[in-house]
């Protein structure tokens, strides 16, 4: 039975200079994975650097999710019996994203064949989301089969949020329930060896992040993204410092803001940083206000700040997230939110929601959520709150279709192809009234 342990204890009690640690970013089985090209195990990269400098042991990395130079990640249908997952009346096609766990077995066999002194003594497997545990368990199995005596540890969100589940589901030795604070840990992409990913992900500790970007540029990697909950925190000071340290490293350097851009945190100073041309994508988190409606003023303020900072009149880099799948969702409110965001920004992305195990929404709906088994059903793409809020999964799919339609652009402006306001107005009305339904539910009539 695996042992629950903190990362500090794992390192101090079970690791020596003589050990060889293989860090593994496992594949993912999901029905869709929109941000796949931005998957990078930043926790492992930092941990690897920490182990090299503090424990002085050998560290290597197998990243099953590493994108190719073109930003592509392998994806494959799941085998026959698991190819579709049925929930209520919806059938979800299932795919494996990334290289299968046999990549880890191949790595081990290659070391066994060429140099047994390089065979890992520890294999540590990370996890990004708790509901992706199946591939973590499969990676454990493959490792255990190939190298029976190796010490296997689980890291990341899954063991942290669901330690008891991990204990029963994975043939590991250690379940790491608390990670080491590596916020200020310097790191680089060196762990990847010669097959480096096409981008570098950073958190906003400006000095260490700048060093990582510098190292990436030396390897001809020019795309930078941020794994940060609030990019413009502290008035945008850390972001400004990071940009000033890195923007002149190479003329092709590009910043991609894929998450953590909170409208409330964007000040005129932060906007002056974001307005620079090197920021090629700005994905704005939904600006909520009471009652589930988006805060239109927040979007207006952001676009105004960006214009004043020298950004273009119609800033096509801006995309707005709109939450779907939350416990209190109302279909008509989501549609209103979509149009509200589109008024200010170039396009929208629907962001499916799932609660954090043990978080406020889980506590508030504990009985309802705990009845959802297996835990993989908590994936936001399966809309775990659908039965609670009364919006069917089919209706959520209609929302996706609507979003795709609305994001169609001519000359980079949403609705230009309707060439006027009347068409747009009629479409809005039609969508609000759900005219595609022959017999609309009396509970869902908007007007």
């Amino acid at each position: 039975m695996p042992k629950l342990i903190t990362a500090d204890k794992l390192v101090s009690k079970h690791l020596t200079q003589k050990d060889r640690v293989l860090l593994v970013n496992p594949p993912v089985e999901e029905t869709r994975y929109s941000w796949i090209r931005w998957n990078q195990p930043l926790d492992l990269l930092k941990l690897g650097s920490f182990l090299r400098t503090h424990v002085r042991c050998e560290v290597d990395l197998v990243d099953c999710m590493r994108p190719s130079d073109k930003g592509e990640v392998k994806e494959e249908w799941l085998p026959r019996a698991r190819r579709y997952l049925s929930i209520q009346n919806e059938r979800y096609p299932m795919r494996r994203y990334g290289e299968s766990a046999s990549l880890v077995a191949d790595y081990i066999r290659e070391k066994l064949a060429t140099d047994r002194k390089k065979v890992p003594t520890h294999i540590w497997i990370t996890s990004l989301c708790s509901y992706w545990y199946e591939t973590i368990a499969e990676t454990c199995r493959v490792v255990r089969q190939t190298l029976p005596d190796v010490q296997i540890a689980l890291l990341g969100q899954y063991p942290r949020l669901m330690p008891e589940h991990a204990k029963l589901a994975c043939p590991a030795d250690f379940i790491v329930t608390k990670s080491i604070d590596l916020e200020e840990q310097a790191w680089s992409l060196d762990l990847y060896g010669k097959d480096k990913p096409p981008f570098v992900a950073v958190r906003l500790h400006p000095r260490t992040a700048a060093e990582a970007v510098k190292s990436a540029v030396e390897n001809s990697i020019y795309d930078v993204t941020f794994f940060e909950e609030d990019i413009c925190r502290d008035g945008g000071e850390p972001l400004a410092e990071f940009v000033s340290l890195t923007e002149n490293l190479h003329r092709h350097l590009r910043y991609h803001v894929i998450c953590g851009l909170e409208a409330a945190s964007i000040t005129p100073k932060a906007a002056s940083t974001l307005a620079r041309k090197k920021f090629v994508a700005l994905s704005l988190e939904e600006a909520d206000q009471e009652g589930g409606a988006v805060n239109a003023d927040a979007y207006r303020r952001v676009t105004q700040y960006l214009r004043e900072a020298g950004g273009p009149e119609q800033d096509d880099r801006l995309t707005g997230f709109v939450w779907i799948g939350r416990p209190n969702d109302q279909l008509e409110q989501i549609i209103r939110n979509v149009f509200q965001v589109l008024k200010s920004l170039g396009s929208i992305i629907l962001k499916p929601y799932t609660p954090l195990p043990g978080g406020p929404d889980h506590k508030a709906h504990a009985d309802y959520l705990d009845a959802i088994e297996p835990h993989r059903m908590w994936s936001p793409h399966f809309f775990p709150f659908a039965e609670l809020n009364g919006i069917t999964r089919g209706e959520y799919h209609d929302l996706y279709r609507m979003a795709a339609f609305l994001n169609e652009k001519v000359r980079a402006r949403a609705f230009d192809f309707l060439d006027g306001t009347l068409g747009a107005q009629l479409l809005r009305e039609s969508l609000r009234k759900e005219v595609w339904k022959l017999e609309p539910s009396p509970l869902r009539v908007v007007d």
Partner: protein
Amino acid sequence: MSQITGELIVEEGLDAMDTLNPGRESFYEESEHYKILRRHLIGEGERVSGFLWKAISAVLRRSQVRSALADTLGRVTLRRRALEDVSAAIGQLMTRQDKMSVAVRSMLKSRRGEVNGLSKAQNLDMGLPPRIGGLLVKTARHLSKPAEIDYLQETVTLDTERPEWNWSLLLFDRTFEVIHKKGQPDQPIAEIDLKEDRILVNWGHPVKLQMDERGFLRTALAWVIAKEAGEKDPSQMMDLALRLLAFTTSTDA
């Protein structure tokens, strides 16, 4: 034979004037030198022999050896895949944490050692064949490919460190040795010995006649695990066996 062409180079001793026709594209058939060359090249009479026969035989032999080797490796790969399927199916089942996973967990914790007859049956050797395509089989570790053929030494070297040659079966956190038995048709299809960590498979069972090796191995393992974990509950036994059989690791997309 009509499709075989070649170039014959005679470096010395050939009486070109009396042997080759003026266009140099053919021989005079009555030439003695031609008759000697013909005898060494394709032999005499109806049957082909000589150098050409040796060359054709060598080509055919290579083809036969490669085919026999592919067959051997294919069979062991399929057998290994059957074990992988069952191992992965159990792994996936354990993540679900439902009634069935509790039953399997309970089985894997047990140290019962109740085997009935199959342990006494004769072992069936499913290891290395002594010869492949007529060539002697040798073993080696960590080759760059699964097998190497040496036609001069007349040997085939197999890399037995590869997983295909491994008969261990990992069931969650416990490894079992799969042992092949030449049991009687009325003996169980398989038995699990939780005391000695081994699973005995009866290749003499009549079900074997209805399916290929991979299918039989999967069926036997699924059946015995379901029986042992099912704890005498027939519906749970059936559910478990069907779930194990439905699971596969290979994609056919």
